[in-house]
């Protein structure tokens, strides 16, 4: 089926996600997010508790955590450690790119 109408979406960052929306986007229960927020493995970009808001950075991190725990049966701390390292590598690569230009 072709849908030729041009769709305009919301840019996450300009519009942040609620806890429920983040859980839905990651395919996990809200409790799953709560546990990782309380453990400091995931942080929100604004708000707190049930009114926490999440941007692209947090969506990406949460999905990486889900993938690590699901694909490798990693516990939540180990998954967070791996994701921390991914993010560090990504930051360093960005710095290298910037210097090269």
């Amino acid at each position: 089926m072709n849908d030729e109408a041009i769709l305009t979406g919301l840019v996450i960052d300009e519009h942040t996600l609620s806890l429920d929306e983040l859980a839905s986007a990651c395919g996990v229960p809200v409790d799953w997010l709560h546990q990782r927020l309380e453990a400091g493995l995931l942080v929100c970009c604004s708000g707190e508790g049930l009114s926490s808001r999440f941007a692209s950075l947090q969506l990406r991190r949460a999905r990486r955590l889900v993938a690590m725990e699901r694909d490798f049966d990693a516990n939540q701390e180990l998954a967070a450690l791996v994701v921390d390292l991914f993010e560090e590598v990504q930051k360093l690569r960005a710095e290298l790119d910037a210097r090269a230009q």
Binding site: M1, N2, D3, E4, A5, I6, L7, T8, G9, L10, V11, I12, D13, E14, H15, S24, A25, C26, G27, V28, C45, A55, S56, L57, L59, R60, R63, R64, V66, A67, R70, D71, F72, F86, V89, Q90, R93, A94, E95, L96, D97, A98, Q101
Partner: protein
């Protein structure tokens, strides 16, 4: 339709047990993880591996697949017939139990998988408990120029939706999506209601597009680099010139005696996000060709005035 040998994809023997399948999946997922291997080949392989794992890690799906595989190998038949065999297997009680695992959908299962597992045995019941459709994710790779200027790009997505008979089936949809000007690598575009269809009249899920740029994809910062061509007198005397940023045109103050190659950084004028990137303008002094009317006379006059005091190669000779 091409027959997919899932055991071959995962480097397994057909009698591999559950732990061996899981171990093979983890090994391949590690080797081809997008954060470690961003090549198109690795991505394509992981799509296949995910599909194979969806089938082989589920006893019901694996049993159905093994039956088809045995017949395929025994007959060594042209693959065009495989879909019919699978359809008949499917109708004999193997029921579609929902979407493939969360997080592995969206980026496409093969026609082979779709034909075998992508359609429910029975139409959706009218009194089914309402359940919102799942959210789907796709990586959208664009040129950096698309982000600078905005663009419309086509996206193909496979989602679950009821077909004409009310069966929930994997359907292929092509969407035209507006890429907003100023979007950065790593940002997401959320398309409300474009994910999997809901059950029992509930709303569809959303579709999230994670933006990456071609070449370097995830490694790029939000800074935008652009050349700023200047006339010699603009560079020498200073000037106010126009430049285009993702957020629109801006006026840039070029200080006097700005040399060729100097970079002017406009804080927060790069790609959006938190924090926003910078716009980095690399000065390029462009000489007017001497063939322009009056140019030869101007160069000659400048040479007479400055040749005693201006020695462009003196600095290089000192080094």
């Amino acid at each position: 339709m091409r027959f997919e040998d899932y055991y071959e994809v995962m480097g397994l023997k057909p009698d591999a047990d559950g732990p061996a399948i899981k171990q093979a999946y983890r090994r391949l997922a590690r080797l081809n993880h997008p954060d470690l291997n961003s090549s198109a080949q690795a991505h394509a392989l992981m799509v296949k591996v995910n599909e194979a794992y969806e089938v082989l890690s589920d006893p019901q799906r694996r049993a159905a697949y093994d039956g088809v595989r045995r017949r395929h190998r025994a007959r060594n038949a042209p693959t065009a017939g495989v879909g019919d065999d699978m359809a008949s297997d499917w109708q004999q009680g193997f029921r579609f139990a929902g979407a493939p695992s969360a997080g592995r959908t969206g980026e496409g299962f093969s026609d082979f998988f779709t034909s075998m597992f992508g359609r429910a045995a029975k139409p959706e019941r009218a009194d089914a408990k309402p359940e919102r459709g799942s959210d789907e994710h796709i990586t959208l790779t664009i040129d950096a120029a698309d982000a600078l200027q905005g663009a419309v790009r086509s996206v193909t997505v496979r989602t679950l939706a009821p077909d004409e008979q009310g069966h929930r089936a994997v359907t292929l949809r092509r969407l035209q999506v507006q890429i907003p000007k100023g979007i950065a690598a790593g940002q997401h575009i959320r398309l409300t209601g474009q994910g999997a269809a809901g059950v029992g009249g509930a709303a569809a899920g959303d579709l999230y597009l994670e933006v990456q740029f071609k070449q370097g994809a995830l490694t790029q910062s939000r800074d935008v680099h652009q050349a700023l061509p200047l006339a010699p007198w603009e560079a020498a005397l200073g000037a106010e010139v126009d430049a285009t940023t993702p957020a629109g045109p801006v006026s840039v103050s070029v200080p006097p005696d700005t040399p060729h190659g100097k970079r002017l950084r406009l804080k927060g004028r790069g790609l959006g996000g938190e924090p926003a990137g910078d716009m980095v303008l690399a000065v390029e002094v462009v000489l007017p060709p001497s063939t322009l009317p009056g140019a030869r006379a101007a160069y000659t006059a400048m040479a007479r005035s400055l040749e005693k005091d201006f020695k462009p190669r003196a600095a290089a000779a000192d080094h």
